[in-house]
Symmetry: C2
């Protein structure tokens, strides 16, 4: 006998057994359903691209992490490290046929050879949606609504969408004549929580040559608190006289009002209480330096803010300038699938199950296989997923299997029951059993199962 090959996965990669994959598929399905409910359409691109496409605009960091090699034809190729670069290449190539506005979603794997500390994996899934080819604020508003609907549908508990407009800080920088120091300012402000106000002031002075008065105003913006309206009014004052800043405040105010209107469609209804503080103006949210230009957002879970943003995005002016002269503005965001999954697990909000079927049929009357199969067909025709145990074994062993797997109901039916036209419906959660008629099209039995599943 030849020696066995040790079965193992690569470092930084993982298998998804059913207990992990079932909730993962549920999140993906939910994202698809919500994206589709706004008319976003699925698209996909190859996992492998020409290396020059992927290196086009990458940072040193992503370039280093890129999986790259020569293919059979001697071409330099790489595995995509995000879904944004392939999207840019895709729209540059196809936008004429697609037309605008082009609304897409893409749920697909990306690969990064990163350090595997901190629970990061080298293959992970992204769930992006974007509206391309329009500068209308409607698309920004819709991005916020999609994230609100998506996280509501995912039962993550209460959450906060932190919304900002890049124009506000940019406007203040223009007003303070610090635009050419934007990167240094943003880097310093970003450390506020970590190192405190005094050291940020020091850094602003050192790296951005900011005066004390300039630092005061910058810190005043990031320190805003209170209601959205109050904060917007103060931001308006801070940026007064600067066109970029005023436009940023105006757009953000309009977007927040529209979201509020859309979430409380009845004129007579107020916004539901749980949603009243859900969408917050957050002047410190920036999302990277170069790419985003308008509204930006991040989303945190109120019960677990430390895990970071689970859905982020924003507006950009020009998606595909590496590949086409056509200016393609857009707005989009991404659900952090793996982070969200980890959070739901930590919060105990994931259903523990290793089955996709709710109903289990044990097989213990050995000569009755065809009768069991008929029963299963009846239930599937009624839309009930059912697993039939393949081997005729002792009932007890099969019920152990059913409990371990997490079925909701077992249908106990042997020779006597088949002959009598009845079936024992066992609720595996409560342990209760009930005898129900099993005749004709199994109508009574189906009704009983549906009533248990509806509980």
């Amino acid at each position: 006998m030849p020696e066995k090959i040790k079965p193992r996965t690569l470092k930084g990669f993982r298998d998804y057994p059913p207990a992990t994959m079932i909730p993962r598929e549920w999140i993906i399905e939910t994202a698809r359903r919500v994206y589709r409910s706004y008319g976003f359409c699925p698209m996909d691109t190859p996992s492998l691209e020409h290396l020059e496409i992927l290196l086009g605009n990458g940072s040193e960091e992503t370039d280093k992490q890129l999986y790259r090699f020569e293919d059979h034809g001697g071409r330099s190729v790489g595995l995509r490290f995000d879904l944004t670069v392939p999207l840019a290449r895709f729209v540059a190539q196809h936008i004429q046929e697609l037309g605008t506005p082009y609304k897409r979603y893409q749920i697909a794997n990306v690969w990064r050879g990163e350090n595997t500390q901190r629970g990061r994996y080298r293959e992970f899934m992204q769930c992006d949606f974007d509206t391309i080819g329009t500068t209308s604020l409607s698309a920004d508003i819709e991005m916020i609504l999609v994230i609100n609907d998506l996280l509501s549908a995912l039962h993550v508990g209460e959450f906060t969408i932190h919304v900002n407009h890049r124009g506000i800080l940019n406007g203040l920088l223009e007003k303070l004549d610090l635009s050419n120091k934007a990167n240094s300012v943003l880097r310093a402000l970003d450390k506020l929580e970590k190192i405190g106000e005094d050291r940020v002031r020091k850094e602003l002075a050192e790296t951005a040559e900011a005066t004390s008065d300039q630092a005061d105003q910058l810190l005043a913006l990031t320190a805003l608190a209170g209601s959205n309206e109050a904060m917007l009014a103060e931001a308006e004052t801070l940026t007064a006289g600067n066109e970029t800043g005023e436009l940023g405040v105006a757009q953000l105010r309009e977007a927040l009002a529209a979201v509020s209107a859309a979430l409380s469609p009845e004129a007579q209804d107020a916004l539901p209480p749980e949603a009243q503080n859900r969408i917050q103006f957050a002047p410190s949210v920036c999302r990277g330096l170069d790419y985003y230009t308008g509204i930006v957002l991040e989303t945190t879970l109120d019960e677990l803010p430390s895990i970071g943003s689970v859905a982020s995005g924003g507006r950009y002016d020009n998606l595909a300038d590496l590949y086409t002269k056509q200016q393609l503005p857009g707005v989009g965001a991404s659900l952090g699938l793996d982070r969200l999954l980890a959070a739901l697990e930590e919060l105990g909000r994931l259903e523990q199950t290793s089955t996709t079927a709710q109903v289990f049929i044990p097989y213990f009357a050995a000569d009755r296989r065809n009768d069991y199969l008929k029963l299963a067909t009846h239930l599937r025709e009624a839309g009930i997923a059912v697993e039939f145990y393949p081997e005729a074994k002792k009932l007890g062993k099969q019920l152990q299997y059913a409990n371990r797997r997490g079925f909701r109901i077992a249908l106990v039916i042997g020779d006597d029951e088949f002959d009598a036209g009845e079936c024992q419906v066992k609720d595996l959660t409560t342990g209760n059993s009930k005898t129900v008629a099993y005749t004709n099209h199994a109508t009574a039995l189906i009704a009983e199962i549906q009533s248990i599943l509806a509980k």
Copy 2:
């Protein structure tokens, strides 16, 4: 301005724009739903594996096609070329926690650097399902039922599942004392349609040293015709006295009877007429030489048999013998997603649409954005997917967009309609418009939309 990078995909790879991706997602969703209705559970494995895992049992052909390279840690790695090798590695590693029977499905991409002629792509998706750890015929029967349910749900028109049992030909070969020539015999018989009986006889004599009588019996088996029962009876006669052959016939007979019973669950009902010839004993179906050991099947579309099998599989004795001493028998099959998609396209059975939403709301009363957003929320809360055009433009332009994209309904509502509490519901298929009340929770409007969508 720096020079633009030409946007292009790699040879053998392709983008999936919405018109292709929407039906693709529909097939994937349908496969998931059907697999789940039998209790198969999702799982996934990494796209990249240690090279030694992938090379384990590969043929020279797959080895040549493998995408392989050195990763950042100097490890030899490769992109999976099918889902069977990763499954074998996965169960060898995890079967203790998973327990048996282990029922899984996996829908994922695989990569092969093949010749790109004949419309083959170097990245394509496989949709596999398997039951592992049981030798019970129940699992074989279920495989046939799953394929029947799946193709029925996919509206492919009528189809034929060609079922065989490897024991029947193996039994005849044993009886004829030709077991050690099995490969040569199979290769020769496989050419029957292409080169005709005379040349097959010649090849059997040359490569397998078959006598004229032996060739008669082999050709008699592959030439069987008539009802399943008649063919099985003849196969029984041909293999009489040989245990392997008799077991093959008996198992196939039992499986076909069980499938027939399961498909006509009412004792008083006959199998529906369209399904009566759907599942056929096909003594020439073999599915490769080494891997399968019991029941095997292929599936063809009656309207387009030339495209080949769209769903194939069978029973194997030992899935993971390269990685573990534990014997893991199983049975499983795979849906040929891309082939099926090509067939549906050729048959004109794919819905032509580039939208995921059924309802379109044009935006032409410029000051009413929040009112439009409220309307959209009402509909989404009723489960109706709706796209709101982002820019206030002339109605005509927006309806052109709606028609091009393939929406079913447009809701035409301007200042007058908002004030009057009504909405024009335009059926974009018929061109008919109807004025419907839009008040309170949009109840009447939702009912009208649902009645059009139900048509």
